[in-house]
Subunit: 440 residues, 2 copies
Amino acid sequence: MAEKTVKIGLVGFGIVGSGVAKIILEDNDEIAVRTGLRLELACVVDKDITTARVVSLPDGVLTDDVDQLLNDDSIDIAIELVGGTTFAKDLQIKMLQSGKHVVTANKALLAKHSTELCKIAAENNKCIAFEASCAGGIPIVSAIRTSLAGNNIEAIYGIVNGTCNYILSNMTTKNEDFETALKQAQEKGYAEADPTLDINGGDSAHKLIILSSLAFGYELKLEDVYVEGIEGIAKADINYGGEMGYILKLLAIGKKDSDGKVSLKVKPSFIAKDDPLAKVDGSFNAVSIFGSAVGQVTFYGRGAGMMPTASAVVADVIEVGLGNSEKSFRATSLKPREQVLPLIKKIGNTLSRFYIRMMVKDQPGGLASYSRVLSKHDISISGVLQHEGSGPDNTVPIVITTHLVRQQQITAAMEDMKNLDVVSGKPVCISIVDMPEDTD
Amino acid sequence: MAEKTVKIGLVGFGIVGSGVAKIILEDNDEIAVRTGLRLELACVVDKDITTARVVSLPDGVLTDDVDQLLNDDSIDIAIELVGGTTFAKDLQIKMLQSGKHVVTANKALLAKHSTELCKIAAENNKCIAFEASCAGGIPIVSAIRTSLAGNNIEAIYGIVNGTCNYILSNMTTKNEDFETALKQAQEKGYAEADPTLDINGGDSAHKLIILSSLAFGYELKLEDVYVEGIEGIAKADINYGGEMGYILKLLAIGKKDSDGKVSLKVKPSFIAKDDPLAKVDGSFNAVSIFGSAVGQVTFYGRGAGMMPTASAVVADVIEVGLGNSEKSFRATSLKPREQVLPLIKKIGNTLSRFYIRMMVKDQPGGLASYSRVLSKHDISISGVLQHEGSGPDNTVPIVITTHLVRQQQITAAMEDMKNLDVVSGKPVCISIVDMPEDTD
């Protein structure tokens, strides 16, 4: 097949941007053979045009003037790797309005403004491609949008934040406490200097919105996601959960019930040790999808980093260059959420099993009083763990797992429990997530 | 976006065919909303037009006359789900020549005749889509071809035969012997009445050829694959390997070395217990791909069965209907193998570690004689396992693991070993496969 050349402009010559430039410049010939498409890096924009990167650009390509890219009509595809939701938003709009398709890894921007941006793209007859926005090198966006298009997707369970998974893995396997594990992650470059958006679950929520919108076919909003981060996790609970056969992960969960209602949550969750997601360690990401036809499919790989993310950006550039993304983009029509009202299932109404750990004074009547509270809220106990012996303050940790209950039952029970005389401090309460069964 | 209708003809109304018809007929509206494409099942051909299936077709759709499909110019896409390599080959050629794109799950046919079929498709300006041919519902073909197009793929490690994986899993977790596990697999419907092509590794070789051709960019032939099946596997070896930290899987391995040479093997292989592939149990499939940019990505899901395979067929139908597959198909130009001569690395020259188990007579001098043989062939020992006590015939099993050696060294050493006086019977020799490291 005759080669077709596409000219590319890139804004943001940081870690991922350097990786993208490296692939385009160095693997150009290989990509042309594989895809029939010759990628030409016409313009790279960054405010820092002096620091050396892992790749050196041909003369005249690097500039600090974004207009050089916007005004170049020969550029077909513009890559936005600036990040953030203000400058980047204006930039993407300008890119689209100047007749360029947009490729981006900017999950925060898409989670907040995708409706507006997609409208502008459609008006300008251009597309936005965003494989790199979710789970780095794992091709999860294209899996949901094209490979699983014959399925009604019922649920998504994802480990989509490498920082949190690295921290929880180290707390689990190295018995580190949260602070130590976080410091480790920062030293290794897996966590930002300010890791707030990672550990508070915000970043996972961004990705969940993007994936769930595609999977369930509705415009979803960030406010639709119930979010808990991992800041409060104690290693004691990881250990007790482990004794009961569970591993703690920060899960992003999107589910569509048979009534069409959608629930979206990001929560530290205990999952069974033999679930595929339980075995995802370190900074890796994984996403399990349950489809009406395919059953469970799980995708595993690097969710961040220079080259894995660059791999996803370049895949998008190629698909846009071939004209495929444009078709999929135009074909994806998200239903207005008014079609199912209320679309979002309130967190209090969602069902889950729970892990509860209380510090209980080692005195007669303890068991009677907290089991009375659970019984009052109609919560049925599934398992109990209490080791013999008590700590220096004469309290003992008691761990209870429940059968399925509504979140609001647990919340109310925890309030009562806190006020019990025998319970010291605030009880810890963590969801136990049982994945749908898809076994032989 | 305005809906586009594509008319579909299907030949082969068996298990997978029924699943495909079910999705197209029942999820039609949902698919139209998701993709902008309305799928219309115009014609279903099977020689059995009386037996009831899981789905009932509208009147006039089912026929035993394939010409009804071939002569209908309004049909855009023809699905071949007949299987086999003779009738199906003629059929695909006729489909292409009558101006229809072909969607197929036929791995045996593609592994043997894809060059010829792709040429005919190109001449007729049509494409062949074959996501369902490898690993059922796992979107591995599109992952290699599009999502990882920015990567030079270095290696593929796959568990791509559900029958073998079911048998080996049961031998491992239920301590069953091969015959019992095979019978189980047949009773559960995971193995054919004649399971030869599954358990001798032939089916895995078909899939390996298809995936490796795409991944490495060369036309590969079935003769290029070194194949060993699982027929000879004893549960004793699964147990001893387990004691040493390994799980036995039938792996399909394709590797491209830095010199451009390709090695292709299907072999029972020990892999480390903590590798993602080691945790793939039962009839599930999984494929790990190592790419120059993305590192390790692993895809896990159902490799066979009515609905998972139908999921992949329908995804292909949609991608063909949107016009995307055609572009990718035309863009995929496999290099003539003459470009690297000899392209295929001979199995004898490939490096591996090995697990060796011998039954050794419990008498003085044993250790000395077999360690002399290994030393003569320059094979360095990595681990030894010998339990105390001997069996009724006064032999003891001795398990040795080696460092990296060439296959031909091991083959020669096994010959010598067999002739040793202290060794009873033929030693067992199984590869130990160390996946490339991609860890934190």
